[in-house]
């Protein structure tokens, strides 16, 4: 019974990998990209977020930053909920109020 359960879970994880392969193939075959843009060009310090003239550029940079921040908060989740940044922030605010 346990063997079956174990195999099913592994199969689920593996089928997740299979689905991602399908996604990669669709992405590669069907998305048409005209030219290689320099939209994500660094340096970081010169980024102008939400500048309307460069809205598309800014948009992807924001998502790039999102990837960084998302990983940061997950690293904080490693220990336990008490070090979750938003909890820390709420705690700090509550201390100020009290």
């Amino acid at each position: 019974m346990n063997h079956v359960l174990n195999n099913n879970m592994l199969a689920a994880v593996q089928s997740g990998g299979g689905l991602m392969i399908i996604a990669a193939i669709i992405c590669f075959l069907f998305i048409k990209e005209k030219k290689l843009g320099k939209a994500m060009k660094l340096p970081l310090l010169k980024w102008k977020f939400l500048n309307n003239d460069q809205f598309n550029f800014s948009y992807e940079k924001i998502y790039f930053l999102f990837a960084v921040l998302n990983s940061c908060h997950k690293i904080f989740l490693l220990k336990d909920a008490e070090v979750y940044p938003s909890n820390w922030w709420v705690g700090m605010k509550m201390n100020k109020i009290s």
């Binding site: 346990n2 991602m20 990669a24 669709i26 843009g37 060009k41 660094l42 690293i75």
Partner: protein, 161 residues
């Protein structure tokens, strides 16, 4: 809906169930398959789940580091090729979990997932940003996010616990 958005939505549709299944079953798989737990009361089960949690945190570290490298790769290779390669690396990472015999090899698997995760969080949106009409960008982004949630609901029906 712009043509490119339809295709990227399809890519998302297949990508997110993969992650969803990982979040659901990876820790259990590690506990039973790698640590050899026989039931959820077995001490090895807790040990396995803890270690799985550690490797899941590790993939976020990989994501953090790779997020700084990704823009350079995207500039060189183009976004669609970058995203395709990252997804393939993630897929290999997930599939290889089944072949792990030593628990430390899980870090290698999760390195692949971390690379894919970086791309998943940024590349689809970067590819989409340029083709949406500016006055409707919010609406389209909202619709686009349906394609993250819908496949997860479907996956939760297809893979009952």
């Amino acid at each position: 809906m712009p043509q490119r958005m339809k295709i990227i939505a399809l890519v998302q549709f297949f990508t997110w169930p993969g992650l969803f299944l990982m979040w659901f079953y990876y820790s259990l798989s590690v506990a039973y398959h790698v640590f050899g737990a026989t039931s959820n009361t077995d001490p090895k089960f807790g040990e396995g789940k803890d270690f799985a949690g550690l490797t899941l945190a590790y993939y976020s570290v990989v994501t953090f580091i790779f997020a700084f490298i990704l823009p350079f790769i995207a500039d060189k290779l183009g976004r669609k090729l970058t995203h395709s390669i990252c997804l393939l690396i993630g897929a290999v990472g997930l599939i290889s979990v089944a072949f792990v015999t030593n628990k430390y090899m899980l870090f290698v698997c999760m390195t692949g997932v971390g690379i894919a995760w970086t791309s998943i969080l940024s590349m689809p949106y970067a590819m989409l940003g340029g083709v949406l009409p500016r006055d409707k960008i919010g609406v389209y982004m909202g619709i686009f996010n349906f394609f993250i949630v819908l496949p997860e609901i479907i996956a939760s029906f297809c893979y009952p616990g």
